[in-house]
Symmetry: C2
Amino acid sequence: MLIYNVTSKVNWNVQQEWLDWMINIHVPEVIATGLFSKHQLVRLQEVDDIDGPTFAVQYYLDSKENYEQYITRFAPVLRAKAVAEWGDNVISFRTLMEVIN
Amino acid sequence: MLIYNVTSKVNWNVQQEWLDWMINIHVPEVIATGLFSKHQLVRLQEVDDIDGPTFAVQYYLDSKENYEQYITRFAPVLRAKAVAEWGDNVISFRTLMEVIN
């Protein structure tokens, strides 16, 4: 099993709006690709949040093929939409993890 | 629900030994505290691993009280054991995350 983890540092000014957009629009669009088996949205605690809070979404995948398909077929458009919507107010980075135990 | 995430960058020289120790000794000791509801060990993919691979264990907790108890009563000894065992061969950092959706 794989976890595609997207961490986002969000400007305080847009925090609530961004969270609503994530929960109601963006995450459902990612899930609608049918490539993920489950997901969860988390907020990091006890980190430096002077500039804004940090969130992460962990999307679970059953295979590397699903991941490759997501990255090539869907991610470019979904990322472009996010950038168009939030610009510099949200900085995201992505990690792929394999569950080994 | 909370996730206590411990990320470790492991020197290639000790990678297999460390993994065995994690799976057979350290993680079972953490779980034996009875404070965690589930856990998973993951390996980061597609990261710079010239110096060694990066792993993370995500320990799930039902409450902040369980976390506080772990940090005050158990973490100091378990961390000291890890440092005594692996020294500079393993560099770990910890994050607490709250599942919000």
